[in-house]
Amino acid sequence: MPKTETYTLNMGPQHPSTHGVLQVVLELDGERVVKAIPQMGYLHRGIEKLAESRTYTQFIPYTDRLDYVSSMGNNLGYCQTIEKLMAISVPERAEYLRVIMTELNRIASHLIFMSSVAIDLGATTGMMFGFRDRERILDLFDMACGARLTYSYIRFGGVREDVPAEFIEATRQFLADFPAMLTEHHTLLSGNEILHHRLKGSGIISGQRAVETGLTGPTLRASGVDYDIRKIEPYGIYDRFSFCVPLGTVGDNWDRYMVRMEEMQQSADIIAQALDQLPPGPVMTKIPKVLKPLPGDVYHRIENPRGELGYYVVSDGSTKPYRIHVRRPSFINLQALNEICQGSLIADVVAILATLDPLMGEVDC
């Protein structure tokens, strides 16, 4: 058989979170992928450099703009890092509010994931349903802090302000409605035959390879590796809640989809427990206006919707951080793209990119 020459195709932007900011250069042999090289950097804002000329507190709003569909988690990761560095303790009520907020945000983020998968595979209704339900969570955040996307709600020593009474009521109402929403998504998407054909058995990565490539979060757990920081190294008060960690078996696109769908239910369970246990009291410790940590460095990580979010902070004893490095899960997870895509069809690349769930604000930082 004559050997055909490979050719290059610039793919994208087609995934909702990569419009204009991620280009995938495909090397193709016919319709088979030989290489899939992600080209990033279009959104690079130099946030780590900016941190060096701001005070510790002034950096909080910048964390919102990294993974901008799960800003609560970014706030939490950064604030806990500085609290660890300075040994600041957090009031009980604030700890619970933090859990409620980050878990609500996890659901909102996974709804965006679900919507992206749906629209990438041509199911517009699936996307609309996802965004419609996410609105409910954004309304809750609006109630708590007056913002719908960039919250800066979690601060050093607690949270910005206590939630209004109607927030608790509205959250309970949301939790009551959530199972029906999830059933609807499962009926529309998970039960859809086209989705099965597009996702099952494609884009496989083994558990061992996933660990070696540095994958974390649902993407890693879909390959069957039980690594959830909330469980193995509980931060905040996560050791007080009972929940399970959904795991995949094959590590294909379908597993990555189903793991996130199941995680939404687990997050809802955690929120319900946190609401039941929510104690009264203050939501903020008294701390100085301008922080001056002792010289030293600290690395702290949390389980964000896209994986292990870590902050490495170096203090030189002044009011400004000497160096902040953010370990962004999307950036490191994107390394797997080339390997997973090799040998698959162009149409599979669309699905693989969707189930890897990269967020470019976080990739480029």
């Binding site: 070696e212 030293g296 490495y312 994107l334």
Partner: protein, 156 residues
């Protein structure tokens, strides 16, 4: 608390094994192993493959510009043994280069490229050491302390 105990014990054991190329720095939760860059690959290989350590996940890799020298920091995690460790190595400003760990953990690929791009540290043995975030023809390394925001030297 128990996690840190394992780590201190582990550090002492490694220090004895690799003496004098390895020293323990920092205290409490900030404790780390500082290794000479010549012994880096050997130490990290032991940390990954030795059944006592099994650090199979390279969580994070970054570097800091301390003006007199650069410090490259590795945050490791062992999934089977559920323990973490911080390893550091240093290189001088005029010879900014350390061995690449991509052969041990493929996940170092993008992270080393990022450090190279933003801090200008070369990783010898990296299969594809190209800029990753900045344009290919950008001449500087913006995360270095000497880098100025504006040409006239005024910090933004």
């Amino acid at each position: 608390m128990s996690k840190q105990m394992i780590s201190s014990e582990l550090f002492l054991r490694l220090q004895a094994q690799f003496s004098p190329g390895v020293t323990i720095i920092g205290e409490h939760f900030q404790q780390a192993l500082l290794v000479e860059s010549e012994e880096l690959i050997e130490l990290l290989t032991v940390l990954k493959t030795d059944p006592n350590y099994q650090f199979n996940l390279l969580s994070n890799l970054t570097a800091v510009d301390y003006v007199e020298y650069f410090e490259v920091v590795y945050h490791l995690y062992s999934l089977p043994l559920k323990q973490s460790a911080t390893i550091k190595t240093r290189c001088t400003n005029d010879h900014a280069s350390v061995p690449s760990v991509t052969a041990i953990w493929p996940s170092a690929d993008f992270q080393e490229r990022e450090v190279y791009d933003l801090l200008g540290i070369r990783f010898t043995g990296h299969p594809n050491l190209l800029r990753i975030l900045m344009p290919d023809d950008f001449p500087e390394h913006p995360l270095r302390k000497a880098y100025q925001f504006t040409p006239d030297g005024e910090k933004g």
